[in-house]
Symmetry: C2
Subunit: 424 residues, 2 copies
Amino acid sequence: MENQDSFVLHGNLIYTSDRNKFISLKDGYMVVEKGTITSVSAEKPAMADNLPVKDCQGKLIMPGFADMHLHAPQYIQIGMGMDYKLLDWLDGYTFQEEPKFADPDYARKIYPLFVDEMTACGTTSSAIFATIHPESTDILCDILAQKGVRAYVGKVNMDTNSAPALTEETAESLKATEDFIQKWQNHPLVRPIITPRFVPSVTAEMMTGLGQFAEKYQVPVQSHLSENPGEIELVKKLFPQDQYYMSVYDRFGLFGQTPTLMAHCIHLSDAEIAIMADKGVYAVHCPASNLNLASGLMPMRKMLNAGVKVVLGSDIGAGHTLYMPHEIVRAIEVSKIRSIENPEETPLKLSEAFYLATKAGGEFFGQTGSFEIGWSADFLITDVPEYQQERSVDEQLQNFIYHGTAQDIQEVYVQGRPVKNTRK
Amino acid sequence: MENQDSFVLHGNLIYTSDRNKFISLKDGYMVVEKGTITSVSAEKPAMADNLPVKDCQGKLIMPGFADMHLHAPQYIQIGMGMDYKLLDWLDGYTFQEEPKFADPDYARKIYPLFVDEMTACGTTSSAIFATIHPESTDILCDILAQKGVRAYVGKVNMDTNSAPALTEETAESLKATEDFIQKWQNHPLVRPIITPRFVPSVTAEMMTGLGQFAEKYQVPVQSHLSENPGEIELVKKLFPQDQYYMSVYDRFGLFGQTPTLMAHCIHLSDAEIAIMADKGVYAVHCPASNLNLASGLMPMRKMLNAGVKVVLGSDIGAGHTLYMPHEIVRAIEVSKIRSIENPEETPLKLSEAFYLATKAGGEFFGQTGSFEIGWSADFLITDVPEYQQERSVDEQLQNFIYHGTAQDIQEVYVQGRPVKNTRK
């Protein structure tokens, strides 16, 4: 099984093709041919006769998770300094940690730990902020590529209002970014994404150059948007001519001109929400981070109703867990808190939050995150406790999402191939 | 080391003797004699010369956790039906599950799974709701006693407004409760606690009898208080002559006359909070449960400032995790959400939330939950990743609480003896 990507999976299949309900098949069959799903059925189809069967009876098979916002260099500071407010936390931890990645040997030591844990947690697709350092960012891409998982990786750009050790010379930063794009743009799994840290840490000159790269190379963009009131005020002060925070990104071609991920999106007016929906810009909800930094409660239901594409992110190290089921649960919890004060904002159902963490995020990468014909065979296999075997597949999934841990994930596959060297 | 309870622990010690700060000793020494802590110091004391050294260098040693509210029979329904509101969830899951414990064989099958997981999570002291069934409740006590952990266990009383399969005959219920108290009142670790489910499910006659037992046998009491507005209205309707919800318990001798745990305490007036403080009644904050059921956000800071004794509980199965660090983190998150709207309610610091889950809860059982002279040697030993070895002990603890899992807990001790058969 290890080195072939055509087989039949036999077990309890569960996925969401839309967000309103789970589709589940007890003891179902999923045919994978050359890494692509070619059949999903209750009975074994004839086409499967010549393929080896991977017997997962009594186990759950679900799509891999998509973690759509995280800072890889912050992996080793997870959970530290959570008593501090944002700026003290950044100064005390993040801005101490990220400069260390100027040393490629440090990247070679830390990034494999991060990639091992992320994949052991069942994440098969991710959108990652590295640091400003080109060589370390290349190293991260190499590790992800060797591991065989999907990722968009960004060399971060910062040329103003930043700690001295993290402030780049603009032209040099742009040159390094273009080199990085050219190097990785055709990789089958690991691709570049343009990554201005956020408006306050990039000059107009930097954003002009980055917008041109987005158009020239047709690469996506990721950044932060409206995480907390102080940040929003700062953007207003720096770019007084722009109507909204998002207008700055937009003016430089960094807001939906190519596929765009914006982390947080907590404090938005109805007009801004409508613009996001109109431009098809993704909002990345990072509930653990938003709670840890007391940033606020994103109005998920309002954004979904307005047609905004919402996905989920761990946002380590402001978030503290790479295990996406924790973010699924927290997204539901945040929506329930909002519903207490705002009854018209109905809470997220589990199927909705699961969909955000699988198909909604996966679609940013192409056809991954659901079990549909023609989609990539990116999935994970989890153990089901003996005492839950009599339950329905939906209930087994509920128990796994709320009560399971990364230890329950036995295997992780991308394009029909096992992800290498997981911790098990 | 396995069968002796006198030794010297050598490793990174951390604990909270008050809630405002951690006390930590890198490569410190803790002397345990016959299960009791007799010295905590930076250097190896002379008194330790004749004792075996348990070398835990590079590891964290902290007090065991206290889980002060949970429903053991709900263990196998964790995470299920979380899309439902309270009443549908109770009807669809809890009231289907609890009647199964009429069969002692079912208790023998399920309760060991619960106790294994709870102790593997590092919980050494707990306050547990069993079910109405005397035989199954005895079985649970036997399992806990064999395991060697501390617990208060309640045979639940319900004689009105309950599902038929969970409604007792009053006199029979009282008789069974008294038998249970007499059987367990002198056990060194596992003790009885009087457990009316909550005001709506017990008659005045039942509460009269239970209050008499509390006084006669000097046993503690646990129940639920002010979890959601509908429940509070119901109590008002059932007992219109009582000023507050808590006045009902109080009138029957079930509110601080002996040590009392009240779960939730979310929707309380300032006057009620003052009464709780005055009577020394414990409020058990169950943040995961309160989020899952959209019950509300307990005003932790207000209650601490008023002098209420607050502790933490997992409240499985409305809560979804037995791993108390998850509840520590969620208690902080809930306090941060409250602080956004109510800036005078400053967020919980990590040391405060850790204190609630160790010493504050432990004191309900006696001297456990802190590393002080004369206190019981109830502790756990956790692995520290190699890449965190250079960090301070406080930072290692921060990383463990936010980023660790039950798999990082290598050993659990109660009264200087290893808890038996943990999953490792």
